[in-house]
């Protein structure tokens, strides 16, 4: 299929995900600066996300593609009241691929129905952000040498964090062990725990962030956002409970790596950055390879 969109990580089979990770690895080893010659990629950001947009644009540029688009809907026709459908139909004429970020959930699925070119979801509200999941998996595979039997500790906001939800789903075929560390108000939602039960995946829930992390292969940190708490006092009390500090890493495995979808605020102390177990900046670079893989795959240039 040449017109295949990527809206949710569950759109791709486990085999397709493994293939995408291989393609990403190929791009890391052997850059292909002319693969997208003559192709135009549109990045439509209906809400700002500089990091994600630059990552996609870097991926397209490094493959030799041209990039058009907007990063601020206030200066585009959207602000004049144009429907999403009209915007997508028009932009379909101008490009070979649409990369889209939108504040409303389900918007990218709808865009993929009305577009005449493939659509890649770069985040639709709290719903999905599949290329983040791919780059997380790529980072796990690259640092651990495998995807199977990984002990993953997820810390912080497990209730609203879409990246942890997608990663839990996507890693489930690889016999992982999950440890979820969060404030009771920010626990992993029941639907995802039910999902893990149905797949016979082992998981443990904790409220304390302490030496249990010595078992970890991966620590996946997330940001606890102030707006998640109605009671600001509670936020102030909570935010410091789930901070990863360099001193906590002493008894962790030598091969353990720390991931974070970024941006971080204070949940990873600055003194962790120089520890060789800190991997979040390289993780961001992996995002470029993972997005190159997705772009070339949905365009049918890599199979």
């Amino acid at each position: 299929m040449t017109n295949k969109s990527l809206i949710s990580i569950t759109d791709f089979s486990t085999n397709e995900i493994l293939r995408l990770l291989e393609i990403a690895e190929d791009f890391e080893r052997h850059p292909e600066p002319h693969l997208l010659d003559g192709k135009v990629v549109a990045t439509l950001f209906f809400e700002p996300s500089t990091r994600t947009r630059l990552s996609f644009e870097s991926a397209a540029n490094r493959l030799g593609g041209r990039v058009i688009g907007f990063s601020d809907p206030n200066i585009s026709s959207v602000s004049k009241g144009e429907t999403l459908k009209d915007t997508i139909r028009i932009v379909s004429n101008y490009c070979d691929l649409i990369v889209m970020r939108h504040p409303l959930e389900g918007s990218c699925r709808y865009a993929s129905e009305v577009a005449t070119v493939p659509v890649i979801n770069a985040g639709d509200g709290a719903h999905q952000h599949p290329t983040q999941t791919l780059l997380d998996m790529y980072s796990i595979k690259k640092t651990q040498g495998r995807l199977d039997n990984i002990n993953i500790f997820m810390v912080g906001d497990l209730k609203y964090g879409r990246t942890v939800h997608s990663l839990v789903q996507a890693m489930s075929p690889f016999n992982p062990i999950f440890n979820f560390i969060s404030h009771p108000k920010l626990k992993m939602p029941k639907e995802y725990l039910d999902f893990l039960d149905s797949k016979h995946v082992k998981y443990y829930e904790h409220e304390q962030f302490n030496d249990i992390i010595s078992e970890a292969d991966i620590i996946y940190m997330t940001r606890v956002q102030r707006e998640r708490f109605q009671d600001l006092m509670e936020y102030e009390k909570t935010k410091d409970l789930y901070i990863l500090r360099n001193s906590m890493l002493e008894n962790t495995k030598p091969t353990m790596k720390i991931l974070h979808p970024l941006p971080r605020v204070n949940e990873i102390a600055q003194d962790v950055d120089t520890n060789s177990k800190a991997y979040y900046f390289e993780q961001a670079l992996n995002g470029v390879y993972a997005r190159q893989a997705v772009i070339s795959y949905v365009l049918g240039l890599k199979k």
Binding site: T83, K85, E105, G106, Y110, G125
Partner: protein
């Protein structure tokens, strides 16, 4: 025909919707737009029912409901039965049944769902028929019986 049906006049041609939970009668009338039709409509409520305790029944003359209307009934009153009447005879009796997917007819309860801001049709997978629950094809959120807003 059981005795409770006899409490409401028989019709020559049309449809009898039976086994509606009494509390849902007026919602069924509303979603089928029966307040505004020219057909003869008779209804009875708080009739005794072995299945439902108290049930309601609606008879609409010269009206044979289309699939999307039957789907609406199934969302609100999944145990309802349709009796198709021709020349005073019941020629067909069947339960309403939700298909596995439905289009239009109900709003997604997620205020941040794209279907609530674009001029577009909603689409759901029916993940439970009794009680009915719908998963939005677009945002993935589940709309349950308490949150149905029929379009």
């Amino acid at each position: 025909m059981d005795k409770s049906e006899l409490k409401v006049n028989a019709i020559k041609d049309g449809t009898v919707i039976d086994h509606i939970p009494a509390k849902d009668l007026f919602e069924v009338i509303k979603i089928l737009n029966l307040e505004k039709v020219d057909n003869q409509v008779t209804f009875g409520t708080n009739l005794d029912s072995k299945k439902l305790g108290k049930k309601a029944i609606i008879k609409v003359s010269d009206k044979f409901f289309k699939d999307h209307e039957i789907n609406k009934i199934a969302l609100i009153a999944p145990k309802a039965n349709l009796n198709i009447i021709k020349n005073y005879e019941v020629i067909e009796k069947r339960p309403v049944e939700l298909p596995s997917t439905i289009k239009g007819i109900c709003k997604c309860m997620n205020p941040k769902c794209i279907t609530n801001s674009e001029p577009m049709s909603t689409k759901f997978d029916v993940i439970s028929k009794e009680p009915p629950a719908l998963r939005c094809f677009y945002c993935g959120k589940i709309t349950d019986r308490e949150h149905f807003i029929i379009i």
